[in-house]
Amino acid sequence: MAELLQPDSRMCNYFFLYDGSKVRGEADPTRDGICYFFPEETPLDKQELLCGQLAGVGRCVSELSSSPTRTLRLRRNKFAIRMKDDFFWALGCSVDVPTVSVSEFLDQLIDLFCFYNGPVRRSYQLNSQETLAARWARYLSHLQSGSSELSHIFSCLRTIDSTNVDPLLLLKAALILQACQRCPLVLAGCILFRGRVVSTQMSPGLTMKVMVHESETYTKAQRPNGTSASSSFSGTVSSTTVFLTTPELQDLQSAPVDKGFSCPTTPQRDGPSKKTRLSRTLSDTPSTESQLSNPSSSQPPQKAYLSPRLSDLDVFSPAPSHSAANSLNPSPQSLRPSLSNGEHSVEDETEESRSRNSTGGRSQIHSEGDGSVFEEDSHLNGGEGEGAFGGVFDFQAVESGNEQPHDDKVVEEDSSVSCGSVSGHNAGKSDPPPLLPPPHRLSDASEENALIPMTLYMHRVKGLVLALLVEPHFMSDATSMEEVYHSSLASLNGLEAHLRTISPGAPGGPGPYTFAHFDCVQSTLTTNLSGRSGGAWDQPFVRATSLLHSHFCNTETLQEAIIRSASTAVYGTRSVAQETYFQQNGGSLRNSGIPNHQDSAFSLPSKARHRLLKHGVNLL
């Protein structure tokens, strides 16, 4: 966590929320309108000055142009502005930060607030200014924390360093998520490890939002009294109400996640007929690779104990995946005891919930699942290691629940808003803020801006978190909850154990080259830049990347560029899906200035193509 504690102060020098409706009359002091001001230690008269002046000018400009103001630039600070209703947000940063990035940052911050608190006006009616100030501060520090200048430029997701992680683990994480999704009340999920994304089914934007709560519960978990989890789930499960925008919800409901095909092996079996990927997960690419490479490479030991485990499996997926995870352990001998120690209670509960389930309306799931398991079992026995994971999870391939029309959910949602008070189910749970959603759809928002309450469910296993966006009544549906809990517990334990042992890559000095590869679709950044080191050799690269990124953003037709000063040359190229930046380090640049084909800057494109192949970046 220590890595998360170094804010990059350049991104945010000032942030404030000003409520113009509080300052209508001539006599109303400006301070009445200040809802939140960062840095909080700023003297009040300075706060009033900035809020008053910027809000005044912002309003004047928006009246002149009949359109909300977007940026106000000063000589030394650049402010991204948002104006909505009577609220006025301003985020001020150094003028060097690209305008695109500041604007994006402010959007993220406001979205984050709405995600956890609902509409702003309503939040301020329901909560004290102090409570909400603490939240703004938290969101702000979260967004600023831990990431390098580069990640600010691209506003990217923080992911685990996939180059250091066995692709199988990523696959495993994706499978856990898919398993959870079989519960019709689960919309989508993601798995995070120590503040970084391991796998996600959600859009980058949503994932980013979910991560705030993760880091928060993590911090709380570190403190003795902080946990707010349900007692019945060993203090590791918590939930909170969150608010999705209509597009976000529609996106989730119409996502290509087909619960009936929640098996990663399916695409291979079905070949081209499969229309889309199962879900948007980080592990998609690596998992494919791993699947391809598994049979030939280091995987054989798995099978040895996968099969035995599978044979005594019941219908629940956690056990096989759990065993699969542990199968990566070097010593099979030590595995058994540790497992039984850890899992007995779980299995008991599993039994319990299963019996309950069987009386419920979804028993067919299990029968379906059973069939699948057998299928896969034989498939496994056929000796294909790659099937080990996918297969087991295929047990409910034709789960009827997934066919449930999504409209139902929307309808349900109305009646289930009151489930915001889900804590009724888990008496001990107090983690959600004392905010109770009103019994109606939040009316102060216009239709397209409507925020729909949902629940964020989190299951923590030490540094690892399974975060699921679930229908609000999920938390009161003991059956579903237990099913999800138990179906994932063992796998999560296993995954955590493995991720924990992975040592972070050595920071290292300047290599022969520096690169940054941004995946625009998944919003992830791959780079060999040494993160927070802020080394002198990084700065020119970061500066050039920032300029080029802005240029790419503003010029649709631009495909590639080389920019060069006397001392630096950086090559940038982009396609619809990615942006890549490359700089050759060491050795002085030759023949700069006058046009010269021997200028080393012009060899950058071919060098980049060549060098980046081994990082999985294909520029051909």
């Binding site: 630039r73 000063l74 080389i562 000063s565 006397a566 200035g593 010269n596």
Partner: protein, 652 residues
């Protein structure tokens, strides 16, 4: 001018305009008042606004020169922040050329720009407005105003002949004539549209800077606009104006009957920019504020222009000259620049202004006491002498005399406060009075001796006829040549611009293609597309240059763009590259017209090459994207080495 609106305003918004002045001026003041007030509030807090944007992509750019706050607004997306900022700087440059050192005194400049006589004020604003429109038009259509360097007509023999003619016949004859009214021709040049055919400077004249020459071309074009784009297949200036009106915030009232000869001759272009200055009380001796004529109705009366002069002891900005613009044929103009008597006063005034500004700065920094105003003792005796000279020449200087006496009492007398902060207001006062003297000498209609200071109309007419006779046979050739200056012979190369920044000159194939002359680009949309690309490329390269990148290649759509900036010594030997300084986004625009960025760059670079003249070049090229990069680079190299060969005759 693409629906943008440039709004100049004094920072004191309280004292508002007079009764009877057009009402929209007042409503503009009201609309912008919150911004203007907030600007000064933030400025006192140590930071100030540079630009605003809105969700519907309106752009506002703000910049303050001394006490003048300029606000430029664009609402149709045709101009970027950088374009608006440049426009503000150019406007400021034009005001400096027109008013000289009067711009150094906020009070006096305010008097000039907001004359009490509404009629006169309107005339001045019409003139400024039309200069800005002319500039905008050139900036959008003329490559030399795109890159801000003077384009020469490439015809070495004719050029030589003309220079010889200007020297031996024209200038000699005028300067030895009794009708020259005490003036002396320093520079004479012939313009074919905006291109320079021949330029002659007399031996005792200093070099005319590229910045001033470009400003003078704008003025000449404003007086005698070329109709060069009438037969242009893509008159985008007309297109854009039709769409621009509804995007701006107000519709200017129809202008009153135009008495200004200079602007009545030119077609109306673009939406009308509006200027307004609000006039607070001015503490100034009324004796020096007689009514001024900025744009005299009599065409024989020259324009007073204030240009930079370099002397052995340094640069003197804003020295008074007269500019005579003599039309030869439509599109071809002879320009004469003269110096007139008493211009020595301007140099003295500048020296004193500088001395008081320096003193004020020292006092502000609290160093006054330590130096005891040492350099001021020298100033003291010089200023005493200067006052005597003024009196001898019949220049009213009693106010200056009074303030100077008071200053001396405070600064130099034993019992007085000496060189302390208390002296700061007196420094300011002295500067205002000095500017007043300058204004009295060089901006008012008649000189101190009440003789009309100009070449006699007959002499002007004779000069005009002489050059007409000389160029009669060449006239048509020149007009065609100016549209197809050079051609290219590199397969795959679509266009290029090469600029010699040391001399402020550029070469490029023509982009304005008419029915009669077709270039490699053909006609119509393709040429228009390339033109747009070229314009945006120049703005891109400036952005990167501002951030320290002097080489740039871009693959954009089906094209490949290159940009190079490099240094050479006089013999054409390439000098080693050196990192160039990076500047903030809101710094002065890169170019040569308003602020000469390249002069600074050369000075910066020359620090490593003392005593050696350094040259700076730029090359921009557009190639087809399918051409291999090696070939493209080879073309660039050939262009770079060929274009500026000693013969100055491009081998293309």
């Amino acid at each position: 001018m693409h629906g943008s609106e440039l709004h100049g305003k004094k920072t004191n918004p309280n004292a508002c305009g007079e009764v009877g002045f057009p009402a929209f001026e007042d409503s503009i003041s009201t609309l912008f008042a919150p911004i203007i007030i907030s600007f000064s509030t933030m400025l006192t807090e140590g930071d100030s606004y540079t630009s605003f944007t809105t969700e519907n992509n309106h752009i506002y750019v703000l910049h303050q020169f001394d006490e003048c706050l300029y606000i430029a607004v664009n609402g149709d997306g045709e101009e970027k922040e950088e374009d608006l900022r440049r426009k503000i700087y150019v406007m400021n440059k034009m005001i400096e050329v027109l008013f000289g050192m009067v711009t150094l005194s906020g009070n006096l400049l305010r008097k000039e720009l907001r004359a009490r006589d509404t009629e006169q004020r309107l005339r001045l604003w019409k003139h400024l407005q039309s200069l800005l429109e002319t500039y905008s038009h050139l900036r959008e259509n003329d490559q030399s105003f795109l890159v801000e360097a003077v384009e020469r007509l490439i015809h070495p023999t004719l050029c030589e002949q003309c220079i010889e003619f200007l020297e031996r016949r024209l200038v000699q004859q005028i300067n030895s004539s009794a009708e020259r009214g005490g003036e002396e021709v320093l520079h004479a040049f012939i313009l074919v549209h905006t291109k320079l055919l021949a330029f002659y400077s007399s031996r005792n004249a200093s070099t005319l800077s590229a910045s001033d020459l470009l400003a003078l071309i704008i003025m000449a074009q404003n007086m005698y606009p070329s109709n060069v784009d009438v037969d242009d297949p893509s008159p985008e200036d007309i297109d854009s104006t039709s769409g621009s009106g509804h995007e701006s915030f107000y519709t200017p009232e129809p202008s009153p009957t135009d008495k200004d000869s200079s602007s009545s001759e030119k077609p109306v272009r673009g939406s009308t920019p509006v200027f307004e200055f609000v006039d607070p009380d001015i503490q100034m001796a009324e004796d020096s504020l007689s009514t001024l004529e900025v744009c005299p109705p009599d065409p024989a009366t020259p324009h007073r222009v204030f240009l930079e002069v370099s002397q052995k002891d340094g640069l003197y900005p804003m020295m008074p000259h007269s500019m005579y613009c003599l039309p030869l044929w439509p599109g071809i103009t002879l320009v004469l620049l003269t110096k007139f008597p008493h211009s020595g006063v301007a140099m003295s005034v500048y020296t004193f202004l500088e001395a008081f500004a320096k003193l004020e700065k020292r006092l502000n920094e609290g160093q006054g006491g330590s130096t005891r105003g040492q350099p001021m003792h020298e100033v003291r005796s010089k200023l005493d002498k200067f006052l005597k000279t003024l009196a001898l020449n019949g220049i009213q200087s009693s106010q200056l005399q009074n303030v100077w006496t008071e200053f001396k009492n405070r600064a130099f007398s034993r019992g007085g406060p000496g060189f302390s902060r208390d002296l700061i207001p007196w420094c300011k006062n002295m500067k205002t009075q000095l500017c007043g003297i300058y204004r009295q000498c060089f901006l008012s209609d008649s000189g101190p001796d009440d003789t009309p200071r100009r070449l006699s109309p007959g002499l002007q007419e004779r000069a005009q006829t002489m050059v007409q006779e000389k160029l009669m046979d060449w006239k048509d050739f020149l007009l065609v040549k100016s549209k197809r200056n050079i051609t290219m012979d590199f397969p795959g190369l679509i266009h290029f611009i090469c600029v010699d920044r040391s001399s402020g000159q550029m070469i490029a194939p023509s982009l304005s293609i008419t029915e009669r002359t077709t270039s490699e680009l053909g006609k119509g949309p393709v040429a228009q597309y390339i033109k747009n690309k070229m314009w945006s490329l120049v703005s891109t390269t400036r952005h990167y240059l501002q951030k320290g990148y002097s080489t740039l290649t871009l693959r954009d759509g089906d094209f490949y763009f290159c940009y190079f900036l490099w240094f050479e010594n006089e013999t054409g030997f390439k000098l080693e590259a050196k990192d160039i300084p990076t500047m903030p986004d809101d710094s002065a625009p890169i170019g040569m017209l308003a602020r000469d960025y390249y002069r600074k760059l050369l000075r910066y670079y020359s620090k490593n090459h003392p005593g050696e003249p350094v040259k700076c070049y730029e090359l921009l090229t557009v190639h087809l994207g399918v051409i291999p990069t090696e070939i493209i680079l080879q073309h660039c190299r050939q262009l770079a080495s060929k274009l500026w060969e000693p013969s100055r005759n491009p081998l293309l």
